[in-house]
Every structure is written in structure tokens, then in C-alpha cells.
């Protein structure tokens, strides 16, 4: 884990630059969650609903819906896969995404269906992750998106 500003970043995971989801890859399976930065700028999560187990999700398509203090919107998958597990604790207490984004705040597990093509599109490696996160943090600060 690397601390950047007040954020702890896990450098062992892959990151989707647009959605700020992290992907914890383990063979052909992956656990998905949100980066500490995007969870903070969205505000406190109020509700999460996931698609049913077994749903076949494509990269960029929705695997559930979320309500943060500012909006209701889809959770768009950073990689394609079949939903094999959903985090019921997060459904019961969405605040876990804010308080423990890498731990109990994970969202779903997917059995990947297009791993070879999609994983290289994600950000990986210590320097790449730190560089990307620092530039994102600066952008978020400059534009005033950090939640008050």
C-alpha cells in the first residue's frame, strides 16, 4: 500500500482509468471495488443494488445501481465477466465502500470472459498506478470535486 496525500492505494490491483474501479485479479476470476478517491468524491453511499448472480456483464456495462448523496447511477464493469459472488454486506451497509474500499467494501466477484483483451487496458504496476492516481488527485482538487 502506498499513501498518496490521505489516500491508501493498493498497488497490487489493476485500475480502470475512467471508472476508478480496482480489479483484484486471481487467475480467471476478479474481485471488483472502488478506488478511495472516487468513493470520496461521490459522497456517502446510501444504497447499492447488484444484478443477480450469474449475470453476464460486458466491460462498460452496468452490473448494478448505486445511490450516493448526489445521484443515482449505474455501476459499470471495468472488465467483462459472469457475476459469481456479490458482497451482501455492502448491500446491507453501503457505507463500507466509503470506510473500507479495499476491504469489506468490495462489490462483486466476476468469472472473466474476455481477460486477455481487457486486462492490458487497465493500469498496472507501482509507478503507473502512483502516477495515474497523483494526476487524478490533482485534477479532482483543481476542479473542486473532492467532497466537502
Amino acid at each position: 500500500m502506498e499513501k498518496i496525500d490521505k489516500y491508501e492505494i493498493n498497488q497490487n490491483y489493476y485500475y480502470d482509468a475512467d471508472s476508478h474501479f480496482w480489479v483484484d485479479l486471481s487467475g480467471s476470476e476478479a474481485r471488483i471495488g472502488m478506488s478511495p478517491l472516487v468513493q470520496e468524491t461521490s459522497g456517502s453511499f446510501v444504497a447499492v443494488v447488484f444484478d443477480a448472480m450469474g449475470a453476464d456483464v460486458k466491460r462498460g456495462q452496468s452490473f448494478g445501481n448505486i445511490e450516493a448523496e448526489k445521484h443515482v447511477g449505474p455501476l459499470n464493469a471495468p472488465v467483462s465477466g459472469v457475476v459469481t459472488e456479490i458482497n451482501e454486506k455492502v448491500q446491507e451497509n453501503p457505507r463500507l465502500i466509503n470506510t473500507d474500499p479495499y476491504g469489506e467494501g468490495w462489490l462483486v466477484k466476476l468469472k472473466l470472459t474476455n481477460k486477455d483483451e481487457e486486462i492490458p487496458k487497465l493500469i498496472f504496476g507501482d509507478d503507473n498506478i502512483v502516477g495515474w492516481f497523483k494526476s487524478e488527485l490533482k485534477k479532482f482538487e483543481d476542479k473542486g470535486w473532492i467532497a466537502q
Binding site: 446510501v46 444504497a47 448523496e69 445521484h71 446491507e92 451497509n93 453501503p94 457505507r95 476542479k143
Partner: protein, 377 residues
Amino acid sequence: MKNWRYIDQTEMSASKGLATDEYLTNLHTSEGGTDFPAILRLYNYKDHSVLVGRFQDINAEIDIEECESLGFGFGRRLTGGGAILMGANQLGICFTTNQEELPWEHISELYKKLSAPILDALKELGIEAAFRSKNDLEVEGKKIAGLGVYISPSGAIQFHASLLLDFDIDVMLKVLKIPIQKFSDKRKIASIEQRITSINRTLGTAVEMTDLKSLVLKKYAEAFGKTFEEQDISTNEQKMINHIARETYENEEWIFQRSPQADMTGVSLKKTPAGLLRTYIGLKGENIKSVLITGDFLDQEEMLSEIESRLKWSPLDKDHITKVVDKVVLEYSSNKSYSHVIENDDIVNAIWVASQRALAEKRYTYNGSCYYPKVEA
């Protein structure tokens, strides 16, 4: 440059009003198909329609029996936030588009851009309103409009505002389960008047709804430099809207769906040197849904209302509550001097105690037995 579409509707039922919002939103997806890159719909519901937020527990928010006995419609929106009462004197503003027409990177940009024309319209009427920390527009600390944004799975945007031209406190008290039911009628009315206002109340004169619609339309056109072309809902479109209404907004599974996060309420009474502080709190899981702080502190109502507003939809976390209270008290105390100052710690503790009672009550809630089922209050 293509024109944007304008739709003017009145007397909408709850289900058709919500279905129209959804239909128009979906027009901006790749499969939707519309000649108009953006659509502004200004409309009114029938007197009255009560609408809850996307993930709210409808039984915790509104009195269904009372709605039915009064002949009011009720429903569940796509947008989040709290329950609202809509009717002939509340203007529904629904703006739909997509990322190509209105590029955005962060949701706060959408709120800023899309609420600016409403603030401009209020300004032209002589009302200085401002965006309040969460999703409200306020006038001197009182809510005058509620805002919401829904992003569809394919990226279409629905911005919604409910702008109060006027409102009926008696009707609100009948159908919305707000945590002041034990107050006397006089105190209930005072409590609402301290927190909510309307265009007519602020101006002290009656503005016509048709004039308000024209003004809001003009301000959207000016703000975006666009020409709006009025085009009513066609017969074919109405068929599709009716289908959405039947499938979703009249479907009891949608209306009465329960969210996995529990709704809880708690109250605390605290005697302070400045007087008795009575605090109500509504929780959804570990989030604060609403706070109401009352007492004999008439000169500090605006400050307390600001604390309530900033705590709405924020985490139930004592440090967070303390930060919010300290910040608001500092902002207000630098401008004004109060006769009897309430200590920050008293406010924080009152909120915290109410929250802990809400959590404890949930723990000991009677969920019914095989002989005596739980009856919803």
C-alpha cells in the same frame, strides 16, 4: 446546430409523470433515437402526487392509507433523495440529454450547469437563491427546490428539479411522515415554515404557473444558447409511456420494493443553558437521512437549518457531525450575535444520542409473531 425540444404538460398522474421522465431519458441512448439532442419538460402533477426517492422505503416515508383516502397518487422515482409532494403549484423540471450533447466528468458539474437557469429565473423574479450543499436550492436557509440526477446504464442523463411556486402545509403534514407529528399544529406549521419556502411566499404575491414556465424555458435557452422547439408527446409516444407506466410505475413490486438498508428514527431531549433542545433523526443504514433540531432558539433557526441540510445524506460518524457543526456555527457566529448561544458540543451530543436511540430501537423492533403480526405505523 439542432434545436432542443420543449414539452409543457399539466395534470399528470404519478405513474404517467414518472413514466414520461423515463421515456424521454431513454430517447438519448444509442437505441432510443430522437432528433433532439436535449429535451426540457416543464410539467405539473395532479393535486396531489407523493413521490419517494429511488431506494426509499415508501411505508417509512408516506402515509399510504391517507394518500388513498384522499385520492392522491404515489410512486417511486428513478432519482434519489427524499419524499416530495407534487401538484398544481409545484413545477416539475425534467431535463434529459446525454454525454455527447452535455459533456461532464463529475456529477457536481451537472448540478451546477443544469440548476443555473433555475437560479436565473428566480433572480429575475426578484429572489436571490443559491445552491445548497447537497441537492437543494435555498433562499435564506429555506429550501425552495429539490434537485436530483439519474444516469441511465447507457449514459443518458436525467436532471430533475421540483420548484415550489407554493405549497400546502396541511397536506404535507397529512401524507408525509415527518418527525414532528407529536408537535402541536402551531409548532408543526412553524417548523415547516422555518425550513421550506416558495416563490409566492418569498415574494408575497402570486406568480402564475404559466408565467413561471415561460421564464424557466427562457433561462434554459439563454444559458445554453439554444432554441427550443415545442413538440407535444405524440400518440405513438404516449402508447410507449403508458406501457412503461403499467410495467413499472403502477407495478406494486416497484412501488413497494424494500431496500436492504433499514430505515430508523430516533429522538433526543437535551436541556441546555440556552433552553431545551429536541432533536429528531432519520437513518438509512449508517447514513443520516434527515435531522431536525428544534427548541426555543428562534434567532438561531437558520443556523440549525443549515446544520440539518449539511448533515442530510451524510455518514453517521461523530467526527463528521462535529466537523459540520463546528463549521456552520463558526460561519454563522461571525455574522451574528445570539441572545443564548447553544454550545457546539450540546448540538453534536443531541444528534448523536438521537442516532444511537434510532439504532437501538431498530435492534429491539418488534417484527411480529405468528399470532400478532407487526402493523406498520
